[in-house]
């Protein structure tokens, strides 16, 4: 049996007096597609941000691809990692943000080529060739020379996906990638994500409020509430026959709000 | 038969090259509850703002409560009114805004008492007594000492209604008073408005996208498009059996967007 690619071990995350994650443990297998759902404030974004090293953890251990993420071995003991270690570990992980976070002063193509050229020392020609493939995959090849300000939200998000893929990470994190979009633009982004899920064996963690999409996309769904995994299982089970009271209430509310499941 | 309290006669409103209202005429009877509906940009807000003298008109005449709004008689001819006349006319009219526009540096009570004390020379005690009645009516009596920043949108809007009522205008104008509110706060404001419509014989003009509410509230509905009244009638007729093509399309779209009718 293969080793999990992510092993979260009893982590704690506090913001001042507020404990957001209180002893969370979970594992993700290589190639698994995971959907994280749950009410607002339950800590879903926080988990992704911790994996992307945008936050620090207050306690616990995280292992990614066989190595500690936040710690290094030093003389037989584990000590907090330095920036160099984090830099190395980030090679394995990519993230797509809710608000795209494209670089507004660079054209679409440069947004995609920048990181490979800087972090991997790729030559411009090679980086551009690869970028054009990715832009083609997300249907944005014809906009390669446009500036982000000239794109719609859905187009921006597709560029952001291409940008994250350009570094060929083993793990991709998606945080509500459609929730900042006008309703008519959601589908074009979800289509790209579906293609991605089907065509690659990347490990993917997805936070979403689109239950229908979570259903189609995920191998496994985790339902969070107040920083804990309340229920997990195959999408069919979670969505059709939730066992926990809280999961049921949550899904009922979501349906009432008009999201299809 | 009573005289109309508002008589709009062939008014024109231009913003630079853009003509927003092009020869609009309409009448409102005393005590009538009118709903103005129609697509975005059709000029609904503009009409209310003109009645409140927040804009000027490019041409035409408006009579309010038997007097010209924008003109005064001078030696047998009508000349544009001065600020003094406008000030007198504004006593008859009150307005509630989409974004509340409460005075942020004054507490709820002071927001309501300020204008009666300044414009009508009411004594503080009398003004506060009346203000507390009104705040009680909109269910905000217990927040009399709060600052606007401490209130939710729905609470703010209820205070704004009380503030406008404190001057006892004959005519009240409501411009999309719920559209800046979170969905769960809409109902509390609409309830206040329903009570108001039922209990007073004020003349009311309401611009709204809440078709269901317009249906319950209004004696008469005017459907606007591009600065013209396309169709008008009793709410039952307009909503159930619209005659005009454009009204039908508009209502279809609204329903598709999830607003109940």
């Amino acid at each position: 049996m293969p080793e999990p690619i992510i092993r979260i071990d009893n982590i704690v995350k506090r913001y001042g007096p507020l404990t957001v994650l209180d002893g969370l443990s979970m594992e993700v297998m290589p190639g698994e597609k995971l959907a994280l759902i749950g009410p607002s404030g339950s800590g879903k974004t926080t988990i992704l941000r911790i994996l992307m090293t945008l936050e620090t953890i207050s306690d616990g251990f995280i292992q990614v691809d066989g190595e500690q993420l936040y710690h290094i071995k030093k003389g037989g003991s584990l000590v907090p990692a330095d920036e160099r270690h984090l830099h190395k570990m980030r090679e394995k992980i990519g993230m797509v943000f809710q608000h795209f976070n494209l670089f507004p002063h660079k054209c679409v193509l440069d947004n995609v080529t920048l990181a490979p050229m800087l972090t991997k020392g790729m030559a411009r020609a090679a980086a551009e060739r690869r970028a054009m493939e990715l832009l083609d995959m997300v249907g944005m090849a014809d906009k390669a020379k446009s500036m982000p300000a000239q794109l719609s939200g859905g187009q921006k998000q597709r560029v952001a996906i291409a940008r994250a893929l350009a570094l060929s990470p083993k793990i991709m994190l998606f945080d509500e990638v459609t929730s900042a979009l006008d309703p008519e633009l959601v589908e074009e982004v979800l289509n790209v994500m579906r293609k991605l899920a089907a065509e690659t064996d990347m490990t993917m963690l997805l936070v979403t409020h689109e239950m229908g999409f979570a259903h189609d996309f995920a191998d496994r769904v985790l339902f969070f509430d107040r920083g804990k995994i309340v229920e997990e299982g195959r999408p069919e089970d979670i969505f059709r026959h939730p066992k926990q009271e809280r999961t049921q209430t949550f899904l009922r509310k979501i349906i009432a709000a008009g999201h299809r499941v | 038969m009573p005289e109309p309290i508002i008589r709009i006669d062939n008014i024109v409103k231009r913003y630079g090259p853009l003509t927003v209202l092009d020869g609009l005429s309409m009448e409102v009877m005393p005590g009538e509850k009118l709903a103005l509906i129609g697509p975005s940009g059709s000029g609904k807000t503009t009409i209310l703002r003109i009645l409140m003298t927040l804009e000027t008109i490019s041409d035409g005449f408006i009579q309010v409560d038997g007097e010209q709004l924008y003109h005064i008689k001078k030696g047998g001819s009508l000349v544009p009114a001065d600020e003094r006349h406008l000030h007198k006319m504004r006593e008859k009219i009150g307005m509630v805004f989409q974004h509340f526009n409460l005075f942020p540096h004054k507490c709820v009570l002071d927001n309501v008492t300020l204008a009666p004390m300044l414009t009508k020379g009411m004594a503080r005690a009398a003004a506060e007594r009346r203000a507390m009645e009104l705040l009680d009516m909109v269910g905000m009596a217990d927040k009399a000492k709060s600052m606007p920043a401490q209130l939710s949108g729905g609470q703010k809007q209820r205070v704004a209604i009380a503030r406008a009522l404190a001057l006892s205008p004959k005519i009240m104008l409501f411009d999309e008073v719920t559209s800046a509110l979170d969905p769960e706060l809409v109902e509390e404001v609409l309830n206040v408005m329903r009570k108001l419509a039922a209990e007073t014989d004020m003349t009311m003009l309401l611009v709204t996208h809440e078709m269901g509410f317009a249906h319950d509230f209004a004696d008469r509905v005017l459907f606007f498009d591009r600065g013209k009244i396309v169709e008008e009638g009793r709410p039952e007729d307009i909503f159930r059996h619209p005659k005009q093509e454009r009204t039908q399309t508009f209502l279809r779209k609204i329903i598709a967007a999830g607003h109940r009718v």
Binding site: - | L54, E83, H87, N101, A115, L118, T119, A164, L167
Partner: protein, 220 residues
């Protein structure tokens, strides 16, 4: 040349005399600036177009030219047309007009930052124009201006040494005169620097406090 504490002790009273004048000039200059700034701001915002434009040009001109030269102008040229001001008065007026142009900008921004909806709400509740200014606009416009105005107050304080060029015996001039008669620049100049540093460190804390207290725009 060595640092001489005895000399420091000896010149301290003279420097304190100068510091007093410096503070007086700052306070009076600030008062003038506050008033003149208001005049500039009102002229620019409400006067008929030609006057407003002339005011704008005057403000730009004053802001684009050095205070030192303006002081020379007030002190040496104005007497030719019969306006003979005592040195300190000339200095205060120079500071006041120069910083008045900055204050005008702060006033304008403060007033323009009051949302349009506030003007409209005032109209809809039938307040007159003066009532609107007094009860609605100014109470909202002024608090956010205070830190910016205080900032210019401090800047002005630091420019008072220019008054020495028109013979005002403020801190810098006293220091120079000490240096002139004793041929020592190190102690007086260093002390002047220290005085300024102390005053502005105090004002930095004061400013932070003002900002905390008044500049919370997000509550609007």
């Amino acid at each position: 040349m060595e640092w001489d504490w005895e000399f420091v002790r000896q010149i301290m009273p003279t420097l304190i005399e100068g510091l007093k004048i410096t503070i007086i000039a700052t306070v009076l200059g600030a008062a003038v600036a506050a008033v003149i700034g208001l005049v500039f701001a009102i002229l620019r915002m409400t006067a008929p177009a030609p006057i407003a434009r002339a005011t704008s040009f005057a403000v730009e001109f004053i802001r684009g030219t050095p205070l030192l030269v303006q002081l020379y102008f007030i002190f040496y040229v104005l007497p030719d047309i019969g306006i003979r001001l005592p040195a300190l008065v000339a200095g205060v007026i120079g500071l006041g007009i120069h910083y008045g142009t900055y204050a005008a900008e702060v006033y304008r921004a403060g007033i323009e930052n009051v949302p349009r909806g506030q003007w409209e709400a005032a109209k809809a509740t039938n307040l007159t124009a003066p009532q609107t200014w007094v009860h609605v606009i100014l109470p909202q416009a002024i608090p956010p201006m205070i830190p910016a105005l205080a900032n210019y107050l401090i800047a002005m304080f630091k420019e008072t040494p220019l008054l020495s060029a028109i013979t005002v015996l403020e801190l810098m001039n006293q220091a120079k005169s000490i240096a002139n008669s004793n041929y020592r620049y190190i102690e007086p100049m260093t002390l002047v620097g220290v005085f300024f540093l102390i005053m502005s460190l105090i004002s930095v804390f004061f400013l932070r406090w003002l900002e905390e207290r008044y500049a919370r725009v997000e509550e609007r």
